[in-house]
Chain length 586, copies 2
Amino acid sequence: MYRTDTCGDLRLSDAGREVTLAGWVQRLRKMGGMTFVDLRDRYGITQVVFNNEVDAELCDRANKLGREFVIQIIGTVAERSAKNANLPTGDIEIIAKDLKVLNSSLVPPFTIEDDTDGGDDLRMKYRYLDLRRAPVRSNLELRHRMTMEVRRYLDSKGFLEIETPMLVGSTPEGARDFVVPSRMNPGQFYALPQSPQTLKQLLMVSGMDRYFQIVKCFRDEDLRADRQPEFTQIDCEMSFVEQDDVIGLFEGMAKHLFKTIRGVELTEPFQCMPWADAMKYYGSDKPDLRFGMTFVELMDILKGYGFAVFENAAYIGGICAKGAATYTRKQLDQLTDFVKRPQIGAKGMVYARVEADGNVKSSVDKFYSQEVLQQMKEAFAAEPGDLILILSGDDVMKTRKQLCELRLEMGNQLGLRDKNKFACLWVVDFPMFEWSEEEQRLMAMHHPFTQPKQEDISKLDTNPAEVRADAYDMVINGVEVGGGSIRIHDSQLQAKMFEILGFTPEKAQEQFGFLMNAFKYGAPPHGGLAYGLDRWVSLFAGLDSIRDCIAFPKNNSGRDVMLDAPAALDQKQLDELQIALNLIEK
Amino acid sequence: MYRTDTCGDLRLSDAGREVTLAGWVQRLRKMGGMTFVDLRDRYGITQVVFNNEVDAELCDRANKLGREFVIQIIGTVAERSAKNANLPTGDIEIIAKDLKVLNSSLVPPFTIEDDTDGGDDLRMKYRYLDLRRAPVRSNLELRHRMTMEVRRYLDSKGFLEIETPMLVGSTPEGARDFVVPSRMNPGQFYALPQSPQTLKQLLMVSGMDRYFQIVKCFRDEDLRADRQPEFTQIDCEMSFVEQDDVIGLFEGMAKHLFKTIRGVELTEPFQCMPWADAMKYYGSDKPDLRFGMTFVELMDILKGYGFAVFENAAYIGGICAKGAATYTRKQLDQLTDFVKRPQIGAKGMVYARVEADGNVKSSVDKFYSQEVLQQMKEAFAAEPGDLILILSGDDVMKTRKQLCELRLEMGNQLGLRDKNKFACLWVVDFPMFEWSEEEQRLMAMHHPFTQPKQEDISKLDTNPAEVRADAYDMVINGVEVGGGSIRIHDSQLQAKMFEILGFTPEKAQEQFGFLMNAFKYGAPPHGGLAYGLDRWVSLFAGLDSIRDCIAFPKNNSGRDVMLDAPAALDQKQLDELQIALNLIEK
């Protein structure tokens, strides 16, 4: 071993001990014949002192150290005269007796500091240096502690972690698969799993009863911000359960994580919100409940007064921002620009201030009497000093989603989205299907294995769009951290579901025959859910992106710029796989 | 919840309780107006009783149940008159009050019993039914407990579990990669990692200090028995360590696993055997030390007497099988056939019995006097009743390996390889390189990142074949469960290593530039090892194959016969990936 202690270990009680430390040179300062080296490792920083008067040769060698050199020092722990209250080791320093350079370092391309001067691209190319920075490292430490606690909790509840294969079959339903040519089976391909969904259901058929896995999943999608081609799922499934059983057990897991990782004791049951309410009051299936500002619908109040925009609207609704009547014209124009951005797509925004005397002053005063505006004020329970923001549109859902963006933006602007405050809820009663404009057919909102609600099964033939599912999402601070459902365990119902989704019986058999066949041999009722680990870690870490809780993430083109992957193959490799490139000329 | 208790829970102390159970019908017996159903779930089997006199309709419904039907029953726990001491629940039964069929089942294609009538192929196709059998299930339970304990141990030692990417770059050195075409980067491919070797080394460069990961790895090799294209590794790496530190820590982990999983307390340090000794005395770098029968070399004793086979041999050596002088001529002929099988490749076998009077009777008596044979007896310290078996050949290593096979076979025949006895050791001081006949060059015996022994570094230029490495394997019962090494952390030494291995500087830079570059920025001394989880679980489970400790294994053609993967892709998928099939006509 190259050391007796780490750079985070030593305290005043160690004074007088001779120790050996090893680590990286964080910083070197010379002051009046003394050289101070901050020695860093994963566990902390310890100050090492070289005294020119005591050992000029040693001090001289220390003076030649560069940033990020790897060194080993032998010395004696001594109390510092000038203590550093910001460091756990700040009461002591090491009086160096010997120094050995274990490895030198070129000058790093950016500073290894909490606030680095390195840009994103450079940090990704030299990710191994970026990971030396304390904030990035602490994200990985957090991730480790979270997965340990997840496993501890699930193990205590009788779950077995069972590995499912990474080389499976391709199922083009859903997102695109990454595929893997099989050399031993020329012309055939494996796929990397988008999730172990069908395999965990087979484990339930096999009687495993309670399964989990923390597992890599893969989706070949065009990468929007905060998506990675490979991501990690906490995947769970249970047999002989109903929705409330699953919700209860995994709410327990969330509380366990909040307590052990964040030190937050959540005693109340999580709120359960039907999907329809989430859409109606928040315009989102993952509402951020850290703040109110719920939607108020205004069709009844504001229609019929000749304001053409509203007259033609299928939806008029707004939010009330407490105390924001002070917003200037410029701020309001910026908000209007915000909602008109193509990503959001509103046509415009109407606003109204509640003045000190209770009067309402709006941007559409020429159409509305004070009486009508007062009715509107009542609907919001708005008070003097409040700002009312209204959107309208000819598509109810689209307008709600626009209003959702506005609500979140106002939450940001008013400081209502504190990263250290957590609002957890379950969104339940999802619709079974949603209409796809692109495919011109019904698609499963969760996936085709979701159990329709018992009381809605009769509508499967008559009005499938109204069928709700035994599906649930766990939402924290507006982030969907996990979601799941009770699954179909009846092979006939499963076949019917594929039929509604537009599968021919042959296609259903070809793609999912193994599952429907398995259901014929005694499938138990079962259900489960899956969490996005990356997102949950980011949430706990207070990160805006999932990237910095992943050791070696890929960029938006799916490239690992450090490894320079993907890359061209040798012709020999292609030949062995019996495939050829077929590049489209541009 | 569909149940109040599981089928493994109930005891005599529960008598009188009304309970709800759910599970599978294992067996149904009718006896004198009573129907007995053995209800099974993951946790056990509970007997349920239906009484025709009490409720004929209910009993009638029970009589219609088939094997593997999924049912829910409500009833009262009662003491059994005829107790079953083989079942933890054998003191009680459930007097059924109600029965609900949750799902029916076709007749399974093989019996769901510990000793099934299902052949391998059928069991693999219906793996979800095979997994219902207690022996297969208990392997997965064991695997879960082992990974939990590995994580518990490593976490307690300050290791962080850090996920490394699955989509990396291809490195044709070593085994073949599975590759993944990148749609977003047409013409380029990711590779699936054969191991996270270079990535974990980068984590050491990044100062993570102690890393582990239980992770899937991939090798596209022609599948010999007991290989899987995807397998699971317990992958570990540490900084600022020397060989003894790594060995000490992971010997601790092995002892922790033996204690917590197998209930075996190993108090002695594991034996450390130099590779040269392992080859000399056991003909294997993974000797099975559950029994002795070490090799004795006989060149000095048996050469010079005109027996042509020995006169021309580069190696003559043998083993002494205690008490096996009773072997018949037929048994000895079978042993000769065994060593002459093409997989082993010996030309023949010489044997000698030590008779009751101490005389030696051999198959080559016409060449050797009793005096010489007595010398040989002394060399083996053989006693009356022992059997000496001798092989020779013109290639020392090949002959040793043949003798190794013979030794293991004799161990099997004499019952010396008890699956419940464990012999652990470290094999150390491996050669750095081995000569590849196929490639006609030196290859790294472990991998190109292995640190040569300090005292041998000077031989790198003059006599690389003699250079030993800081490499070590953990061997249990003749199985290499894990192996590792101290790594090179100096970019110049690493470059030299690639040169010796026949890389041009350009090729080395192209394939491993990211690592050699990283070494220029303060790489710490580091080392680690990796365990094959599948093998270790099999060893603890007493399995002959790794297959049955994997939930969904692939067959020898790399196929998942249950999922029917791999399979052909849609043309649309190939087009999107800009690749085409290029099948070789046969």
